[in-house]
Symmetry: C2
DNA sequence: TACCGACGGTGAACACTGTTTACCAAGCAA
DNA sequence: TTGCTTGGTAAACAGTGTTCACCGTCGGTA
């Protein structure tokens, strides 16, 4: 019966609800961007919408819940922006696509520092409520659209180019378990998007290389956004470009 | 006259004031560690001290001001811990000292994730109030005790070992200005601690290498603390060790 | 047509928060 | 003794997340 009423309600009322739902998150992000993290508040959102605060509880269980969904929206937008950047690069120019997605990530981060901080520099909230290892599967970056963009580009690189990755023997043995599981998850999500990658090209060394790549990209961007370089940097972009070139050369991605 | 009263007051009353001052920051940090960032609040601190909230304004201009000083305390503690780790390593084992300080940094970060987040993953607060470039000098890591530890070890490495750093010609020209200024600042703070480093060994390539080293160390540690590796990691320590070995080999720090 | 229930909103309240203000007691200086 | 500083208090203000009782306005159904 409940299902019947739910499906039956999908007329005009449903669209209106989804619309205000979207508006809530839009207003929240607008406050975050223009007035900072401290200004995004249930009552401020409601005020901005000409509505009263408790009404928001018809849409979200709590303020934290709302923030979580805003984070997901941010990831979606970031992914869309990166997809737009990628659209300008020919399909077969895989190094160019790697460069584009890395540059796009940095450009987005410096253009949206508060969103970056909210999404990429908050301790993992999922670890607190549930039982840690139990919900660890949700930590998979393959689930969020931003991570998927990165992984897809990585997959394209793998099937079109010969990378300079270490042989499996050089990968620390203690990482075999985690890396292998990640590889399995990667193959799954990539084949879901139409990319079928031969098992032999997806070595542990490749997975390990992706990890190291991400560590350096993230470190560079985060330090720039947080202003935590060991010295004041006049223009961080050349530094980023230099790091990117170093990365590309090291992983055999030179054009 | 004001000076006279100030100096005259430095009897028993002054010590008591400094004591409660210390207690305020201690209680604040305790709340941060045990109950999270959201729980460190003016009133909670006062409550824990058996005191009333406005009394804290006799010691700090605002809540933000208090937080800033807590951050400095955290940096001091981190520096002391690293100094303790260093004390166990012989003076002439410079690679061992580098390893010790890097391992100590990671160990501290994973043991104190909320303190790490507060200090190392908050957007630069100093950039908002003042005029940006005007107060940029305060961004210098040489001023904070944690950065000083790192830089001192780096200086010891420089005067005792031959590093594998790129020649100045490979450093991007656009970075010359920033790097040179950082080098000047480094030489100053290092000579202040008794380390006199010959100008010629302190090349731009060396400074650039230090920057890249920090980017990778920070990225690794931050991603671990935030749980933002691209896949769930069972035991991050071997991954860190692997990164550290790679770093050491790459910069010519092998024992 | 009449009813009934859910949806989405309101207003009031509660327990918090940072911050300001007026006030006050103790201690020291002149 | 007088006067000023120091460090504390209580009360208040504006703002926060959250809950609760209430209440129109609809859609679906008897």
């Amino acid at each position: 019966m409940t299902e019947a009423t739910q499906t039956a309600r999908s007329g005009r009322g449903e669209r209106s609800r989804a619309e205000t739902d979207r508006q809530i998150r839009t207003v929240a992000r607008d406050l975050l961007v223009t007035r900072g993290r401290a200004a995004v508040t249930l009552r401020a959102i409601a005020r901005e919408m000409g509505i009263t605060a408790p009404a928001l509880y018809r849409y979200y269980d709590s303020f934290e819940d709302l923030i979580r969904q805003v984070c997901e929206d941010i990831c979606v937008d970031l992914a869309e922006e990166l997809a737009g950047d990628l659209a300008a690069i020919p399909e077969d120019d895989t190094p160019g696509r790697v460069f584009a997605v890395c540059r796009g990530f940095r450009a987005w981060a410096v253009r949206h520092p508060r969103e970056f901080t909210l999404v990429f520099a908050s301790p993992d909230t999922r670890s607190e409520p549930a039982g840690g290892a139990a919900c660890a599967g949700l930590n998979d970056q393959a689930t969020d659209p931003f991570g998927r963009i990165f992984l897809t580009v990585a997959g394209q690189v793998l099937i079109t180019r010969e990378l300079a990755v270490p042989p499996d023997e050089q990968v620390p043995e203690t990482l075999y378990g985690d890396l292998d599981e990640f590889r399995r998850s990667l193959i799954g999500t990539l084949s879901a998007t139409g990319l079928n990658i031969p098992e032999e090209v997806f070595s542990l060394g490749v997975v390990y290389a992706m990890l190291r790549f991400w560590v350096r990209l993230y470190g560079q961007v985060a330090l720039e956004v947080f202003g935590r370089f060991p010295f004041p940097v006049a223009d961080p972009e050349p530094m980023f470009e230099s790091m990117l070139n170093e990365l590309a050369a090291e992983f055999g991605l030179t054009a």
